[in-house]
């Protein structure tokens, strides 16, 4: 078997094991309601994490997404409150802005040969600052169209709900899978993560791919912001603080190599679900401090980093 699949298999095994443990203690955990909640409550994180997976596959990082989510939310709320624009056109505008923002960061990273860490850190402050300039208060969104969107859900037997935002996340994952494994762009992304010199030799258009990958991450963050605004019916400049770090954690737990070149979109989805599962378990228990979520995720991250190191070591030895 290809050792590339090992981290993904480990992720899936952990997810199934964790779910079984939860189920043995709280049978209600296996209800369609909890499954529906997992998809709905983590939709914004899942969407952002898919964008982040592409960035990390190239060996980069995007720290701006949490701020872009907050900015998008506030931007939408302000426009809907002060103009008569239709939400759909506001969405289009928000996506355009966030995509351009990402592309701009990608452009700077490539042309100035700056570390993505620094450039996207600047982007993080910039977007958060812009959100605060628009409004420091939480602005409610009361548009009728939002009510319509929120009422779009399918009832699943067992009182579960598959909501629109849950569906958007699933569609995003599918698009991510197709984009990564079935398109030229996807192969460029993996090649870039495998090493810049090799990618250049293979004829990968490095500039275009870098710009595109950050633009894609910006687009996903914008989409995540739209989903978040539907989730909370409000735009708040303090929202989604630290979501970029949750997304990175989900990507790594999902089995993607932080150095790039290896990983799967499905893994990221499961990574997100594992994090959601831990949170749900702690709430079901009701006596544990909610900070245990962070501790468990920290532990999982360490495990996966060790696993990745181990794999690199094993494969390099196998080659000799």
């Amino acid at each position: 078997m290809n050792p590339r699949y090992l981290p993904l298999l480990a992720t899936i095994a952990i997810f199934i094991l964790a779910y079984a443990l939860c189920y043995s203690q709280y049978p209600n955990m296996l209800s369609t309601r909890v499954v529906g909640n997992l998809l709905t409550d983590n939709a914004y994180l899942g969407i952002a994490a898919i964008g982040m997976t592409f960035v990390i596959l190239t060996g980069g990082i995007d720290l701006s997404i949490g701020s872009v989510i907050a900015f998008t939310g506030v931007f939408i709320a302000v426009l809907l409150a002060n103009t008569s624009m239709h939400p759909l056109s506001v969405f289009a505008l928000a996506l355009l802005i966030s995509t351009c923002f990402g592309a701009l960061m990608g452009g700077i990273i490539h042309t100035l040969e700056m570390p993505p860490f620094i450039v996207t850190l600047a982007g993080m402050f910039l977007a958060r600052g812009m959100a605060f300039v628009l409004s420091t208060e939480s602005i409610p969104i009361t548009h009728d169209f939002y009510d319509t969107l929120q009422d779009v859900f399918f009832r699943v037997p067992g009182k579960g709900r598959l909501t629109l935002i849950g569906i958007i996340m699933i569609v995003t994952v599918i698009v991510g899978v197709v984009l990564a494994h079935r398109t030229r762009f996807g192969s460029y992304v993996y090649a870039l993560g495998g090493g810049l010199p090799a990618a250049k030799l293979m004829g990968v258009p490095v500039a275009r791919t870098t710009v595109c990958v950050y633009a894609l991450s910006g687009f996903m963050a914008g989409l995540s912001g739209i989903v978040f605004s539907m989730y909370t019916s409000a735009g708040y400049s303090l929202a989604a603080v630290g979501v970029e770090l949750d997304a990175i954690a989900a990507v790594v737990i999902g089995g993607t190599l932080l150095t790039g070149g290896s990983g799967f979109m499905i893994g990221t989805l499961i990574g997100v679900l594992i994090m959601g599962l831990i949170q749900t378990y702690i709430i079901f228990d009701g006596t544990l401090s909610s900070w245990w979520t962070k501790i468990v995720i920290g532990g999982l991250l360490f495990t996966f980093i060790l696993l990745q190191r181990g794999l690199v070591w094993v494969t390099s030895r196998a080659r000799i």
Binding site: T232, A239, Q279, F284, T287, W291
Partner: protein
């Protein structure tokens, strides 16, 4: 299929008022054992920590199985917690909302699942059909209690008051100011001569008090200080002492909140009165739920908590010890 059966069974059990989880863990004395979820904002202030401690105590005393979820200041965590409570089939949910907006959807889900939601300490921008009731304090009333106490204390003598306001524009600052003015409105012998913001902080309270003292003849013309919270009062007491005056006798000190430190000052005779913003918001909420479980009594949409006045006559040291143990 299994899951549906499980859920139905669970619902039936909870409806019968004897959820499996609760009944195992509880003493036999608890008649209406309930499982109640509590979504708390976080533990950003001493008051909130005390609210959490008291909620836990209250739940324990009443034999309630409390599911506690700390949202770490994030609304998304609170929504997740509420959804998990619903999925779990709790009997009721207590919610201290971190922001006012964005609750309609999840509250509708709770309503659909016939789980009553009670808001604690803050309210939300949602139709009041979506929650059972809101337990909050009346900020105007707190100010009025403070004003009435002062009017009774000086008993007809002329009294010039300086006021330390909370953060400009914040609702506690506006309401506590209005309430106090209402409290002294019928007494022409009382007048507020200076009023300025001390931002609810100790350091700012001290600074502003120093400027008041300088401006009013070294403080000799000031008869009383009204501070919108205890922290500012504690800072101001320091300033009064540094100016060579005796707080508590030369200048009367009345404030609001009833945090432990003001009781220390009261025990030392340096503060005179404080109006409590009670951290026991859960007590009235549990009462309401008990009444509802018993015969379906629906409470009014707003329950005002008691704004108790504490003075030196209330054994401040004992109150201090008690409050300290709540995690302030």
């Amino acid at each position: 299929m299994i899951s549906i059966l499980e859920e139905n069974m669970f619902l039936k059990l909870t409806l019968a008022g004897a959820a499996l989880l609760a009944s195992v863990a509880l003493p036999a004395t608890a008649v209406n054992a309930q499982t109640i979820g509590f979504s708390q904002i976080g533990s950003e202030s001493g008051w909130r920590a005390a609210e959490t401690t008291l909620t836990r105590q209250q739940a324990k005393d009443r034999g309630i199985d409390l599911k506690f979820a700390d949202a770490q200041q994030k609304q998304e965590n609170q929504i997740k917690a509420l959804r998990s409570f619903i999925a779990q089939g709790v009997d009721a949910i207590l919610l201290a909302p971190v922001v006012a907006t964005g609750w309609d959807q999840v509250l509708e889900e709770a309503k659909e699942a016939e789980i009553p939601v009670i808001l604690l300490d803050r309210t939300v921008d949602a139709p009041d059909s979506l929650y059972m009731t809101a337990v909050t304090s009346d900020l105007v009333h707190e100010g009025r209690v403070a004003g009435e106490w002062l009017a009774a204390e000086v008993a007809g003598k002329d009294c010039k008051i300086v006021e330390l306001q909370g953060t400009t524009g914040s609702s506690p600052a506006i309401d506590r100011k209005n309430g106090f003015e209402q409290g002294i409105a019928d007494h022409s012998n009382l007048s507020i001569i200076r009023s300025q913001t001390g931002d609810f902080t100790r350091t700012k309270g001290k600074e502003v008090m120093e400027s008041f003292l300088k401006a009013e003849n070294g403080g000799k013309d000031i008869c009383a200080l009204y501070a919108h919270n205890d922290d500012m009062a504690v800072g101001a007491i320091q300033a009064i002492k540094e100016a060579g005056l005796k707080p508590g006798s030369d200048i009367l000190v009345v404030s609001i909140d009833a945090v432990p430190d003001i009781f220390l000052a009261m025990a030392a005779g340096e503060a005179n009165a404080t109006v409590e913003l009670t951290p026991n918001m859960a007590g009235p909420a549990f009462d309401v739920l008990e009444a509802f479980a018993k015969d379906g009594t629906l409470p009014p949409k707003w329950i005002q908590t008691e704004s108790r006045l504490y003075t030196a006559a209330d054994d401040p040291m004992a109150v201090y010890e008690l409050k300290k143990s709540l995690g302030y």
